[in-house]
């Protein structure tokens, strides 16, 4: 009887030690809170929050180094979602970081004026600009996040902002006035 108890206890503690060692050895770097915050951010990687991308901003938020109102592309919706997740009061967007856009925008390059300097390619955080030295550049519209980071570096001011019509996926119907709603729908 005693042998059984001792054997089982010894083996269980050996296994426990093995698991404890591997828990340290195979420790996963990473904070689940950072992932949750990162999922709420718009992933434009625009850097307007003063951090080099959405993920670093999420990490700074998790550490408490950044404030929740530094993301212009996300606008009010992101601030409310972040306030909800982190349990703090929502506040208006910090004007130092930029202004929120009403509609989605993209940029287009005026290809007649472009001199092929590649400066905008280096500025683009999502590699949405195609071109090479002394060749005409163009913007891949489906990749452009509308962060406008390519506009300041352009020496000939050939990059212009355009508003995009919402696509079928993005379009949201406006709610009807209460009196127009048919009775059976209520």
């Amino acid at each position: 009887m005693l042998t059984v108890i001792i054997t089982l206890a010894v083996i269980a503690s050996i296994f426990g030690l093995i698991l404890a060692y591997s828990a340290v050895r195979f420790k996963v770097e990473g904070d689940p809170v950072v992932d949750k915050i990162d999922a709420l951010l718009p992933q434009t990687q625009c850097g307007q929050c003063t951090y080099p991308g959405c993920r670093p901003y999420a990490e700074a938020l998790a550490k408490g180094e950044a404030d929740i109102n530094q993301c212009p592309p996300g606008g009010e919706a992101t601030i409310i979602a972040l306030a909800d997740l982190l349990g703090v009061e929502a506040k208006p967007l910090n004007a130092e970081n930029g202004v929120a856009k009403k509609t989605r925008t993209i940029v287009r390059i005026d290809e007649q004026v472009c001199i092929g300097c590649t400066l905008c390619i280096q500025a683009c955080p999502v590699d949405a600009i195609l071109g090479t030295a002394k060749q005409m550049h163009t913007v891949i519209e489906s990749e452009c996040t509308g962060c406008d980071l390519c506009i300041p570096p352009c020496p000939v001011d050939c990059i212009h902002v355009f508003e995009v019509e919402p696509t079928v996926r993005e379009w949201v119907a406006e709610l009807p006035e209460a009196e127009h709603v048919a009775p059976h729908a209520l």
């Binding site: 054997t7 296994f15 195979f26």
Partner: protein
Amino acid sequence: MTEFALILLSTILVNNFVLVKFLGLCPFMGVSRKLETAMGMALATTFVLTLSSVSSYLVNEYILAPLNLEYMRTIMFILVIAVVVQFTEMVVHKTSPLLYNVLGIFLPLITTNCAVLGVALLNVQEQHGFLQSLFYGFGAAVGFSLVLILFSALRERINVADVPEAFQGTSIALITAGIMSLAFMGFAGLIKV
């Protein structure tokens, strides 16, 4: 070499753990709704089953047998399986976060898969050596994976088929499993051991 080939053939087809020995039916019915999750489950179970088969052989041979504690097998094997599953979860989480996310809850649930304990106990019952245990565990796992993936593919087809109302859902799945089991019984005359 022939012996190991026979063990593999026997565990995968002739004495398939799910359809002939009826072990591990819980994940067989539970995780077979989608082909993708079935594949993840098959992969994780293969790893755990092979590793736990070998390690429970080692525990039985070098700890329990010298101390005459063979009657403690069941609880020891459960302990070994739980440790192997936990260890696998840590390694997968570290090395491949993608696979870890795909497997999700199914990874820790392997602990309660009775095929894992069944293989460990059958190894002792049939007095397998180290390599035999290894191949027996691996063969059982491949057999489990084979029928799990086949069955989930069947169920995806059945989902869109015109099944009579009384047989819809789990009942048609159980009937399908029964017919598959009948089909696997056909392998019984394949080899004589």
